[in-house]
């Protein structure tokens, strides 16, 4: 949590930390790039707290594609 902020603001250390924070604060605004969210605040004065910032998380910077595992269908 960012200390000194008047709004609850979180900077998770990694993806697992983010998952735990989001589970604890499911109503949180998740912010990555934030161009649109920035305008929510500056133009609409919207309260986005609590906010979880994830733009720095290396674990979310890549999407990989894998072949889905095959499952045997249940008889029936």
């Amino acid at each position: 949590m960012v200390r000194g902020s008047s709004w609850p603001t979180f900077l998770p250390a990694d993806v697992d930390d983010f998952a735990a924070l989001y589970a604890a604060h499911p109503q949180a605004t998740i912010v990555a790039g934030a161009t649109d969210v920035g305008l929510w605040v500056t133009k609409f004065l919207r309260d986005i707290s609590p906010a979880i910032f994830i733009g720095h998380l290396d674990g979310l910077k890549e999407i990989s594609e894998r072949t889905a595992p095959k499952f045997a269908s249940a008889p029936g």
Partner: protein, 127 residues
């Protein structure tokens, strides 16, 4: 402003719109505002000199943002193409001069100095 981040390739700077940038998103980054810019002699940077010489500033409202955008471009591409200049200025709006003198300044910036000492000429955080 410029935001410098450590990447596997080294410290990389990108221009961002300070007005909508949340403080938390620059955690651990080197934040450089237009007030930080200095040339090697303590005066104007090459980009600023080029902006003056080519009359790239009129009312001045957009000038800090344009200088920072062009500074980032100059660091990465000292001799940019027109397309690279136009791309670098996509986030900046000027209502006074039109873009022609600003583009000319960007194309001419390297004539006023290269970016070899760009990082070192920024003052430290203790300044």
């Amino acid at each position: 402003m410029l935001v410098g981040r450590l990447t596997p390739e080294g410290l990389r700077y990108e221009p961002v719109n300070a007005c909508i940038r949340f403080l938390a998103t620059v955690d651990g980054c080197h934040v450089v505002t237009v007030e930080h810019l200095r040339g090697p002699d303590g005066g104007m940077t090459a980009v600023q000199k080029a902006m003056v010489e080519h009359h790239g500033s009129q009312c001045g409202f957009c000038t800090p943002g344009i200088v920072m955008a062009l500074y980032a471009l100059w660091m990465a591409h000292p001799k940019p193409s027109v397309a690279q200049v136009e791309e670098a200025l996509q986030g900046n709006l000027c209502r006074c001069t039109g873009y022609e003198p600003i583009v000319k300044a960007a194309l001419a910036a390297s004539a006023y100095g290269g970016p070899e000492r760009a990082i070192r000429c920024w003052p430290s955080a203790t300044r």
